[in-house]
Amino acid sequence: MALKDTEQTNKCVCAHCSSEVNPKTGIKENDKYFCCEGCRSVYHLINDEGFGSFYTKRTDWEDAAPVEQVEADEEYFESSLEVLNNGDYSLSIVITGIRCAACIWLIESSALKDERIKSFRINYANHKAKVIFNPKDISVKEVLQKITRLGYCPLPSTNIETIHDKERKDYFYRFGVAAFFTMQVMMYSIANYTGYFKGMDENLYFLFKLLSWALATPVLIYSAYPFFQKSFSALKHFHFTMDTLVAIGAGTSYLYSVAAIFLGYETYFDTSVMIITLILLGRFIEAGAKQKGGNAVAKLLSLKPKNVRKIIYEQNGEKSYITIPIDQLAKGDLFEISTGSNVAADGKIIEGVCEIDESMLTGEPMPVNKKEGSQVYAGTKLINGTCTVMAENVGVDSFLSKIAASVDDAQSSKAPIQDVADNFIGKFVPFVLIVAVLSFIYWYFLASVGAELSIMRAVSVLVIACPCAMGLATPLAVISATNKLSETGVIFKNGEAIERYAYVNDFYFDKTGTITTGNMTVTDYKLSFSCSSVLNLITSAAFYSKHPASKAIAAINEDLYEYEKFEETAGKGITAKIKNTHVIIGSQKFMQENSVKFTEDYEEYIEKSIEKGCTIVCAAVNHILVGVFSISDIIREEAAETISLLQKEGNNVSIITGDSEKAANIILGNAGIKANIFADVSPFDKGNILQNAKDTKKTVMVGDGINDAIALTAASVGISMRNSTDISIESASAVLLRNNLSIIAKSHKVCRKTLRIIKENLFWAFSYNLIAIPLACTGLIHPVMSAAFMSFSSLFVVTNSMRIKR
């Protein structure tokens, strides 16, 4: 029997977090539904305090369920407290769980309603908050509770800025100073240029030159400092970079102009400061794109709870629990893991039975049974059961940390990739220097115009050769591409990754969670009776279990009955009493244990399903087998199309999995995906495969699990899925914002276009040189013409870069 489409009734959503709620199980209150107690209490709190308009203000409510609350431990926040002069405390925190401007408004206004809090201000860009209060009026704990009760989680923060923040701030001030003085210098330069044509008072002309000199000096000393410093350190290794070109261009035109004041030539102070200002603008824009990427990644990482329930035995033998942040867990500590939570540290189970989803580590989609004495690994997820675990390897010793260490190794061995512009400039700078020398030789030795004029002509070559357009070529294209890509649904952490992705022609996909959804789904089922009441009984029983297979069964039907008795055996199945009937759902073995008999046609059906690579779940009512469900991890809808599209464009596509070759072949074959398959691969081997492939090709790895982290780093470009583990988000150079594989092909197109535009920009910037340098050599070019040329080529680069957005 084919699976019928589940009827699309009116979707019922939680009033707070907007996640879908089953009307029969959700909490109903008047005309509103809630998915859980947490959402309900937050909803009431918000409304009672008069902030109900939060629900109309918010623009992004994905994952809006309250973040798991930490016991606000004052000690934990000690490092982020600062005592102000008047005895007030200033508390710096990062608030996680913020999604849009409405959240910030809600937290700020509800906290400020309390008169004891003097100031509460959240930074919209990085969600860092500063709270000022007097410790005599209100305790740190109470302040933190103001935030946690609304469903957000405060984390301690120091005033230390991230590298990106600092870089951007630094460029901002240098650019600000440069822009101010450039405007002043321009005023006098334009006056002098007009004077050149129309004639002007000699004294005034001289005064303007002196003023330009005075105003240009701070720009050269302060704003251009990073260029001089960086080009000097690059020069030590005989490298020529963009910085070298800027330093030579701005430096020589400044020195030339100083000499020109006294020798009576035209000055070029405006060119000198203009170059610095425009290049700094480019750098500032680029730093902003980096900071934005960094923030988006940090936001994805902060969505996950990072707490653990530690068990403490009191002296009288009584057990108590405290919730602490994971990094405070020590070796030998006992902690509890319950259904749905992640294992916090490597350890051994000392009490309890459970099923753990280890697909993040192994790629095996079905959960593994664990009992007392079994090893569990940090980062894996508990599907059902409750266990007490003794932490064995915490921090650097855990398996997760070993992977992290390999990721670091792979990262440090990665050759820094020169971007297109730097590559081009590396060849261009020596060329300019040679032309300058040749022009000096010509004028001095052959034309014999004297040392003074010869030097001036040679220097003007250097000055004119440094176009602002070249410095703007990459940053403008990158910022434009970053915006376009985040619209498409992917965030690249830096501009180099965008360029690298354009060259990629060898694609590697992880199977579980990437090509497939990672969720179990019923693909087919066989029932003895076609009446709906039997199906209702089975799906109702399955609904109360959190096992992925049960969830899959529950999803095919919406009607729900209450249960009278319900029992779940981890790793085997469930038995329930519903409407006075006895329902058993579970594996074939579980059926046999409950003395349920299999008929021949069912056995045949089961055999066929197993051949197809499905997992079998049987259901019996009153000890008679009534149905069999075939369950498997289904392939994402767009996977086959994306892969064939990539292959059509001439790319090589491979699939890497920790799963067995047979299973991989069956699943991929069913979906009609033809690709190279690497099966039975360990996390470390995944890294090796990518490392080896990189020798001959430009590779990209798409993955989501802990087991993909090393491969994500080893590849030229690593792309992680949205709901990936933290470590893979951190090691990837790009993160998908939606779990849709078609973004991979779409963004590849955008990146190729970006690279083309960068090359066009460089070409036009270079064309300017092609015309201007010969003119400079011959001493024909007029300063006004040269300035006009320069502005034109910069303008071209700006408009050309905007084309990426289209």
Binding site: G50, F51, S53, K57, A101, I104, W105, S109, N123, Y124, A125, K169, F172, Y173, G176, V177, F180, F181, M183, Q184, M187, D201, L204, L207, L211
Partner: protein, 55 residues
């Protein structure tokens, strides 16, 4: 001719004082959160509405 020198002086004073304002704003952390003001501006308006609906 004299007026020209006065004007130059005035332009320098205006330019440099604007620059000092920029530095002062930077020192007072005015540029730390350049995203926020556009949202805060809208939220303040709504607070009044909120009080009205409360009655």
């Amino acid at each position: 001719m004299k007026s020209l020198f006065v004007l130059i002086l005035v332009s320098l004073v205006v330019g440099i004082s604007a620059f000092l304002v920029f530095l002062l704003a930077g020192k007072k952390n005015q540029f730390d959160d350049i995203e926020g003001p556009k949202y805060r501006m809208l939220n303040d308006d709504d607070d009044d509405d909120l009080d009205n609906t409360k009655k």
